[in-house]
Symmetry: C2
Subunit: 354 residues, 2 copies
DNA sequence: TTGTACGCGTTATCAG
DNA sequence: CTGATAACGCGTACAA
């Protein structure tokens, strides 16, 4: 039965159509219905008679047919995909957000295209461009500031975008995250309230990281409101390593007079600072208070649990997905988009030494 | 003589063409060339004359045209995407692997579709089905055992698949990862060599986790080779929490005679065990040796750095990508696919108490 | 409720 | 090296 299709004879025109049907047509033929009916049975089952529906389902199952997303996307102008570009997955709460994002998209029949920018705006732009070629229906980005080319591209494409891990009241519905600045304003104010006056800061690099920059601004604001500021020798910037934090911590503590409180830019920087403090024989919080940002399990399990700011990464992912899907599907978007940044007070913070 | 109807089209054809062209055709028209030439200028620049190439590039830039991946996929039968299903991103080395995977794919012009199965074979199957509909060119999975329906689906689709975080010499080129069984065989043998005879195990649940099961088997093998075995009261299974590990650790240590060494199924279980041991006032390794699996930074920074098995997650991601791309692109695949599992001896392991 | 026929935007195959 | 044109597989007005 494979003998049917004749080879293209030189004299003959084009081999018009007598080929064995595939895909949708094969299903339609096997079920004895038209392709339109099969299509409807899949996409709008309620409009096809019960009998046909089950018959078609049986044929699809039997043939093991899987609809062709490319063909479908071509005609519907919808790919059913959403692109997300994170700075990285191996630090911060981005993996958790990606996880939640993906799960939420699944419920609405969408799929996640995932990429990392490595904190490089140029790479972020390229990744988004690739996503655009793949026909994503929407985009999840991190932070509020992007490459100028990226901004132009997004305007041209008119693609729904949600910026995450930031919150900008001026941009309702396009940002989902905590108010980084206020979070560190509050945390710093809390320490000032305890009586601290000399602060050390082990910050994340603010290079291409507007969230980190905002948090630093929050610290400055709070200190400034009390006529305070950190000394240059008490300020250090690092990436996100425990070992790195230990080194930076030593450097800060070498500059007299020592600070009585250390603000750390992320969880691992705080863990490193505390481990080094304990290794140096310092009492926490007796000699020194240590606070961090982000809450990971180890922070509450160390010998001296660390005070920190908790922002639920999975909550950000979930809300961002819902917000984006609302825009894509043209639905109203009821969710609020500011995610709470909650100060979790633990044993590592207390009054300064007398 | 053209007035008569063309070939066998009885109904009046409606050549609705006076619409302004879009996409490729718009570019072609603006550049004064054919669509074929524009297409070639993009996909095989070397066969288009220098002059046309630059002219076309200018037009593309000016119009801000982005090729339509759906249309391209429809005709080439290639989507330029690869699907990956991880159990989760917020545990183990999966996020690191995803990160590396994505970067490696980027270099070859491919994009990553990412999903999580939550250790549920049924969900894994559904995710792969969705990927199939999206037209992925290949698939990255974790582990070697999958839902029967998934196995059948993969056979039918003839989709290249790489199973990661496992290594099976019998399946060359389809598995990329460590030999889990041998890794824990070696680690356990190392402890036996130190003189340990009574072992506790805080294992990861083996439910839908063949890697964890293999590792347990490795432990059993090594113990059995010396006529040893773990007592039921010294065996506990958990997921992956520090707090959980502490509780399990207490339970194990409550059963006399206490073990002199604890084998932990992953990094956080080991961290939890050690923190609890120190909190209980036990000397590590004086009273008790503790070893883990996977190497995360905190393990080497704790007061007593923890002996563990290091498997480079990013290496797995990178190699899996290369292996899969080789199959997709029909290239020879030179890489080896067993990733080394290296025992990193630190202070937490030593001879048993006398 | 079901079937027919067209078109989505691109690439491949030819013929020039 | 370039141009014309037929598919690619599906969704959907429109007709029946």
């Amino acid at each position: 039965m494979d003998e049917t299709s004749p080879p293209p004879s030189p004299a003959g025109p084009k081999p018009r159509s007598p080929r064995t049907p595939k895909g949708l047509r094969a299903v339609a033929r096997a079920a004895g219905v038209s392709t339109a009916t099969v299509s409807r049975a899949i996409n709008r089952p309620e409009v096809v008679s019960e009998e046909l529906r089950t018959r078609i389902a049986a044929v699809i199952e039997h043939l093991g047919w899987v609809p062709d997303g490319a063909a479908r996307a071509l005609v519907t102008r919808r790919s059913g995909t959403v692109g997300a570009v994170f700075p990285t997955l191996i630090q911060g709460d981005f993996a958790r957000a990606a996880n939640a994002l993906q799960r939420e998209l699944l419920g609405e029949g969408h799929t996640l295209l995932m990429a990392c920018s490595d904190y490089d705006p140029e790479l972020e732009f390229r990744q988004v461009r690739i996503f655009a070629e793949r026909g994503v229906d929407g985009l999840i980005l991190v932070g509020g500031t992007h490459h100028p080319d990226l901004v132009r591209l997004l305007e041209r494409l008119a693609l729904p975008v949600v910026n995450t891990f930031v919150f900008d009241p001026a941009n309702p519905g396009r940002t989902v995250g905590p108010d980084n600045r206020r979070a560190l304003f509050d945390l710093t104010s809390y320490l000032i309230g305890l009586g601290h006056r000399r602060f050390g800061v082990i910050a994340q690099s603010t290079r291409n990281n507007d969230r980190a920059a905002e948090r630093l601004a929050g610290i400055r604001d709070a200190l400034g409101a009390h006529g305070l500021a950190t000394r240059p020798a008490h300020h250090a910037e690092g990436l996100s390593g425990i070992a790195e934090a230990r080194a930076l911590f030593r450097r800060i503590m070498a500059a007299e007079p020592r600070p009585t409180a250390i603000l750390c830019g992320n969880a691992y920087l705080a863990v490193g600072a505390e481990l080094e403090a304990l290794a140096m024989g310092l009492a926490v919080p007796g000699d020194l208070s240590i606070v961090g940002y982000d809450d990971i399990e180890i922070m509450s399990e160390l010998p001296v649990p660390i005070t920190t700011v908790r922002v639920a990464g999975d909550e950000i992912g979930r809300r961002a997905a819902r917000c984006l899907l609302a825009r894509i599907l043209g639905r109203p978007d009821a969710d609020g988009h500011e995610c709470p940044a909650e100060i979790v007070v633990r044993a590592s913070s207390g009054p300064p030494p007398a």
